[in-house]
């Protein structure tokens, strides 16, 4: 298992119980999606897997390691695309990528090659020296994606990857995710967007109020609920509608 969680709980210092006893196993090479409404706890879950903060209780192992003991080692192999763009506005696109690679100690020469390669991949070679405040939201999101894979991660973690994306950027992001996955990269993503889950995920966990309420392949979900699309499954499992 690439990620394995047993009875995971997260209670914020504010008292909010965001995750209440979640267990799951993510296999190598799969695209695993957490689908659920705003406030379900998806980002909280992602942050624990990303070693951003520890779980309050329960067991979590990422790449066979304990995030409480080997966070740096784990993070070296993770690519994390956060829900909101947090590029460094003081810097250009190139500088953002360059410094990020530096945190991963990618050797200098390799770093330059990798940046060229990634800018091409996300179609932003012409924005290389633009300040990040001078490019569009969709372009920023693509830079965030490029940044997240600069260390050639074993696990790519995407928190609402297509939130706020124009259709073109969304296609770019999806195709990159598929390509990376085809090369063996495990992908974990969260979304509240049915189409995205349907298009990308091998397995989907429905999350609501800090719990996994259903887990299956997209086809499995459809069959189990006698449904024609995920929206339908969603309504049947959660009994409430998703806002887009």
């Amino acid at each position: 298992m690439v990620v394995s969680a047993k009875n995971l709980n997260k209670r914020y210092s504010s008292g909010t119980e965001a995750i209440r006893g979640i267990s799951f196993d993510i296999k190598k090479g799969e695209i695993y999606g957490f689908l659920g409404p705003n406030g379900a706890g998806k980002s909280t879950l992602i942050k624990m897997i990303s070693c951003y903060f520890p779980a309050t209780s329960g067991e979590l192992s990422v790449l066979g390691l304990d995030p409480n003991k080997k966070a740096s080692k784990i993070k070296r192999c993770l690519g994390i695309m956060p829900q909101d763009n947090n590029l460094d506005p003081d810097l250009t696109v190139f500088e953002n990528l360059y410094l990020y690679a530096n945190y991963f100690s990618v050797p200098r020469k390799k770093r330059l090659e990798r940046i060229d390669e990634l800018l091409k991949l996300v179609g932003l070679e012409h924005k290389r020296n633009a300040r990040v405040t001078q490019i569009s939201g969709g372009q920023q999101r693509r830079v965030v994606l490029a940044r997240s894979i600069i260390n050639e991660p074993k696990i790519l973690i995407l928190d609402e990857p297509s939130a706020g994306l124009d259709p073109h950027s969304r296609q770019v992001v999806w195709s990159i995710v598929r390509d990376l996955n085809a090369k063996g990269c495990t992908v974990i993503l969260t979304t509240h967007y049915m189409k995205e889950a349907e298009e990308l995920c091998h397995r989907i966990a429905f999350v609501d109020a800090g719990k996994i309420v259903a887990l299956d392949t997209p086809e499995g979900h459809l069959a189990a609920n006698n449904a024609t699309d995920l929206e339908d499954v969603y309504l049947k499992t959660m009994g409430s509608s998703l806002e887009e």
Binding site: R11, Y12, Y52, F53, P54, P67, A71, N86, Y100, Y103
Partner: protein
């Protein structure tokens, strides 16, 4: 009764209740690893600095001259020599050391607040092998670097004007580095309490300015009432200023001042770390 060890073992990573400690957020890294990693944050600061440094350097060069001329020349006609020094010679070492204080204060107040709450710079960096400890140590090291840099620039005109009587004044840069680290810890601690940018006014008016005014920069603190002088003895800037003044006349008897500053660094740095980590990662 449970022993401390069992308690630590059982409490899990999230702590028993409430706030998560810095160690819990450091994911098992040793302090040495984090010290080593902190250079990466320092390099980030350097990258940003290199984009805008020229204007800053010019300002740093002229600012102390303004102090010297406005305060020094104006007042020096009313005061005679202090301990054998002209008034301008008397205040020059203090001006030099306070440069370190201003540099560190600037780097660790608005700058860090913005990175936490507006730019979410640290959130992005935490998705790499860095952690809160390596980030904050890097910030402090950077503040110390800026202290050294600004002092060096300030020292040039002051030295050219012949205000220092001994080349030992060079050592004051090390003293200023310690003052910079102390004030970076103060700045970070203040940032950990602040809920809005405007609140820095409280910090500067009720903390930075009094410590600056009552630090022996402008007059010997022996002139103060005993009680006040006692409090001044407790403040780090005073020890920095005294040390620099001794050095400026070739007196190397600064050991106690340096020891005091080192002790402050050792006490304040962990405190700053503890205070700020929970503000960077709201867990």
């Amino acid at each position: 009764m449970i022993s401390l060890r069992t308690y630590k073992k059982n409490r899990g990573a999230g702590g028993v209740e409430g706030r998560i400690s810095t160690a819990d957020l450091c994911g098992g890294n040793s302090i040495w690893k984090d010290l080593y990693d902190s250079r990466l944050l320092w390099m980030r600061q350097l990258t940003v600095f290199r984009k805008t440094y020229k204007v800053g350097l010019v300002i740093r060069f002229f600012e102390p001259l303004l102090y010297l001329f406005a305060i020094g020349l104006g007042i020096s006609t009313y005061v005679g020599k202090i301990n054998g020094l002209t008034y301008i010679e008397f205040i020059a070492p203090g001006i030099l050391i306070t440069t370190a204080m201003w540099a560190a204060t600037y780097e660790t107040s608005f700058a860090i607040y913005t990175k936490i709450h507006y730019q979410r710079t640290y959130e992005a960096i935490l998705a790499t092998p860095m952690n809160v400890r390596s980030i904050i140590i890097g910030e402090m090291a950077w503040a110390g670097t800026k202290a050294i840099l600004n002092m060096t620039i300030v020292m040039i005109p002051l030295a050219l004007m012949g205000l220092f009587h001994s080349p030992y004044i060079i050592v004051a840069i090390f003293v200023g580095f310690l003052v910079g680290l102390i004030y970076s810890a103060f700045g970070i601690i203040a940032t950990s309490f602040i809920r809005a940018m405007d609140h820095y006014g409280i910090y500067s008016t009720f903390f930075i300015m009094p410590l600056f005014m009552f630090s022996g920069v402008f007059y010997p603190i022996e002139n103060l009432p005993n009680v006040l002088a006692f409090f001044v003895y407790l403040t780090p800037l005073y020890h920095g200023v005294e040390a620099a003044r001794l050095l400026s006349v070739g007196d190397l008897g600064i050991m106690l001042h340096v020891v005091y500053l080192l002790v402050m660094v050792v006490l304040l740095v962990p405190l700053a770390l503890r205070r700020i980590s929970g503000r960077i990662v709201v867990a």
